[in-house]
Each structure stands twice: as C-alpha cells, then as structure tokens.
Amino acid sequence: MSLGLRWASVGIALLFVLFLLLFEVLPGLLLVRVFWNDGQLSLASWAEATRPLFQRALRNSLELAFISALQGAVLGTLTAWALWSSANPLVKRFTTGLSAVAANFAGPPLAFAFIVLLGGNGFLNLILKGLGLPTVDIYSKEGLYWVYLYFQWPLMTVLMLPAFGAIQREWLEAARSLGSSQWGFWWRVGLPVLLPSMLGSYILLFANAFGAYATVYALTQGQRNLLPLQIGFQVGGDIGYNPVLASTLALMMALVLALSLVLYRLSRRWAARMEGV
C-alpha cells in the first residue's frame, strides 16, 4: 500500500481512539472521582448511596433482572429447541429474523404498545374482564415482566440457536435407536452441551434488564424505585441535581454489570469447549 493511504488510515484510527477516550472511556473511569474530596479519599458519597432507599432500588433492580431473565431464558430456550427440531426452513428463517429484530426493540414505543394492550382499558384486559378472568395491571411489578418479556424471549431464542446447532439430529436418532427416551437424550446429552450457553445467555438477559432505562421510564413516568431511574433522577429529575450521588449510584450499577461481563466471558470459554467450536 502506498504510504499516503496507510498513514491517512492510521491518522483516522488514532482520531477514533481519541474520540473513544473522550466520550467512552474517560466518562466511565472518572466516575471514581466521587471518592476524592479535597485531595483525600472519602467514602461519604458511598454512605449516601447505600441509604435504605437506594438499597431497595438496587434490590428491586436485581430482582427485576433475575426474574425477567429467567422467564426469557426458559421460553427462549424452548423456542430455540422448537426451531432446531422444526423441519420447515421457511418458518426457521422467518422466526430467527423476527426474533433478532424484536430483541433490540425497547423504549417508549414498546411501553405504549403494552399500555394499549394491557392498560386500564387495554384490549386484552377487556377480553379478560369479559371472560370473568383476572386482569393484568401493566403498571405493577408483574406488569413490567410482561413488557420486558417482549425483548427477553426473542433475545434468548436468538442467543441459544448456535448452541442447538452444535447438537446433531443424528445423535438423537442414534440415542433413540439404542433405547434412550427423548427425555433421556436431552437430560444426558443435550443439557450438558447446552448448559454453558444457557448460563452465558442468561447473564446477557440479566444485564439487559438490569441496565434498561427507557422502557420502564416511559411506562411509569419514572415512578418506580429502580437503580437506573434513581440515577436518572439525580441528573435530570425534578428532585434536584446531585452529580456526586448520581456518579456513585452509577458506579454501583457498573460494578454489577462488570461482574456480569466477567461471568459471561467465563461461560463463553466453557461453552466453546462443550460445543466444540
């Protein structure tokens, strides 16, 4: 390559690194400034951020993420299995594409779509009422699980497809011809192969729900004690502007996500061994 082309590209690459330092890395790293006060280490902001109100916010966010990820994981794994065992390539391709697209759809449009469906006068609630069945309160804690399932379920489906791809259909046939039951095969062969991917995907779903802000904000106008909403309040809410508290809470959240990332990487390594890729 001519030197001009090469060095122009290197120049842009260096500019890119500078851009990432300024707008990605430094804003994250400099959050730890909250532990310095007048040149001295100070844990005052940590004490403020671990008040009972914020402890509850952390606990609520963890619970929401744990349960919502679990629901998505169970349904998504089963759906990935359904796609794996489906003989119809058209159904397979369409469902995979649909899931990949829906997995990224969140925020105000999703929240308002569910309000139309399951709000006070929601279409599904009217049906449930007409049938004499209990209705769903979309603004309640359980209501949020219904909304999050919209992206968690297809996300898990998409994430689990490659893992199922590592299982050959012939294995199932071979096991059955040797007298194993369908369940026996999935328990002894399928599950051990799938388990690392299930764990890794679960962690992604967990982080996905834990850091989510837009959907729950639009659904409840921010009226819920969750960690991302509390952080948002401290920088742009009506209560007031408290950047130190916001940064400390943000660090708390980043800590949970960093731990998730480490666990995810470990599970990927394990999955690579099990799936032979």
Binding site: F23, W81, A82, S86, A113, L257
Partner: protein, 261 residues
C-alpha cells in the same frame, strides 16, 4: 406431542411479538375503544399527527441524529479496521475491549459521566446535540463494529490486496475496486444497525438534552400524556422503522449468524 409443543411455542412467540403492534395500529385509527372492538374507525389521529409541526421537527432531529451517528461510525470504523486487519493485527484485542465497554457503562451511566465531564470548561458540550451524537455513536458502536469487522474478516483483505497487486493494480485501485466492494455489504449492514439503534435511542437523549432538542421518542413520551391515539401512531411508525431496518440489515449479510455481543 413434540409437534404440538413446537407449534404452540412458535405461535405463542409470534402472537407475543405481533399483538402489541396490531393493538397500537387499531388504537391509532379507533374513534373510541371501550368494548372488545373499537366503535368506529377514523384517520383523524394520523391527520392530526401529520399536521403537527412538533412531530415533524422531532422526526427531523431523530433523522439528523441517526444519519450523523452512521456517518461518524463508518468514518471511524472502516479506516480503523482496515489498518488493523492489514498492518496491526496485534491491536485488534484493544478494539474488541473498547466495544465491550458500553456493556458495563450503558446509556444511563454514560450520561452521568458525560454530564459531569462536559458541564464546564475546557469542553463545555453538555446540552448540545454534538455531545448527544458522540454519546449515541459510542452506545451503538458494538452493533456497527461487529458487522464491519465480520465483513473484513470474511474478505481476508491481505490476500485480496496481494492478488490485486500481483495483477498490476496500484494501491488506490486495489482499495477502490477490490477491497471496498468486498466489504461494502457488511459496512452497509453495520450502518443500518447503527441507524436503527440511534433512531430509537431514549435514555441518553432524555438525560443529556431532554426537551431542549426533542427527538421522536422524547416527543412521544410528551404526547402520550395528552393524546394516546397519536402516541399509538408513533408506536406504529417506530415499529415499522425498527423492523424494516432490522430485516434490511439481516438481508445484507451472507451468513445467517446473529451475534449480540
């Protein structure tokens, strides 16, 4: 039994993904809806929305934001991945690490960091669209990076460049006629994914600039307080945009593989 379970699962997922959109579509054309089906149908809510200047302004800002993010992403990613793949494969790990960063520092956290960093001198960028564009570029980077990187990996540009050179092509020709056309579908796919992510972005927009520079999702939250039917129309538009862009991005890739992180 297996057959039944399989069909039930796929049907349930399909219903779950389509029902909210269909309900919003119906709500956006309903006169009044208190029974099982709407009492009547009207295009009034759509007409109101399309006559509303605030809607067009917010849509324009969203388009400006999304196009800027795509332009910036491609401007940075293509030359960077080109030199890294061609000359400095050792630093690929650093890039990979930087694209994982938004996983630990998602929108809400990034917003807090950016506000405290750019609220004063030397770089007073807080509450400007420039900071928002930079931030949304960072957040949508994992999507664009993966698509462009896959394209470069699949193209094996080193071998391509050697082959072109041995056939007498000079460097500019090699780049313009061999390498760029090969990676173009991947670059386009990455651009479409970044556009889609920027189009729906809410957390950063609301926290960094809010109603000072209203984008479509921020406007929808405002509108929903007074006009549920109009908000449902925006829901339909957002779904169409996201699904259209999503399927377009998928169709640009030769492999059916879907990667998330």
């Amino acid at each position: 039994m297996t057959q039944l379970l399989r069909r039930a699962l796929l049907l349930a997922l399909g219903l779950y993904l389509f029902l909210p959109i269909l309900a919003s579509l119906a709500y956006s054309v309903a006169t009044s809806w208190t029974a099982l089906l709407p009492e009547g149908y009207t295009l009034k809510h759509w007409a109101n929305l399309l006559e509303n200047q605030r809607f067009w302004l917010s849509l324009g800002r969203t388009a400006l934001l999304s196009f800027s993010v795509v332009a910036l992403s491609i401007f940075f990613l293509v030359p960077t991945l080109f030199v890294v793949r061609m000359y400095y494969p050792n630093v690929a790990g650093v890039l990979e690490f930087l694209t994982l960063w938004p996983f630990v520092f998602p929108g809400v956290i990034l917003a807090v960091g950016l506000i405290s960093l750019y609220s004063g001198p030397p770089l007073q960028l807080a509450q400007t669209p420039f900071l928002l564009i930079a931030a949304v570029t960072v957040i949508s980077l994992p999507y664009a990076y993966r698509a462009v990187d896959n394209a470069f990996a699949a193209a094996d540009i080193k071998t391509l460049a050697e082959a072109a050179r041995s056939l007498g092509a000079d460097d500019a020709k090699t780049l313009a006629w061999v390498i760029l056309p090969t990676v173009l579908p991947g670059v386009l796919s990455g651009g479409v994914l970044a556009f889609s992510a920027a189009f729906g972005e809410f957390a950063l927009t609301q926290l960094l600039i809010g109603t000072l520079w209203e984008t479509l999702p921020v406007y929808q939250v405002q509108l929903a307080r007074t006009d549920g039917n109009g908000s449902a129309a925006i829901t339909v538009l957002s779904f169409l945009a996201a699904w259209g862009l999503g399927f377009w991005a998928l169709s640009l890739r030769k492999d059916a593989k879907v990667s998330v992180i």
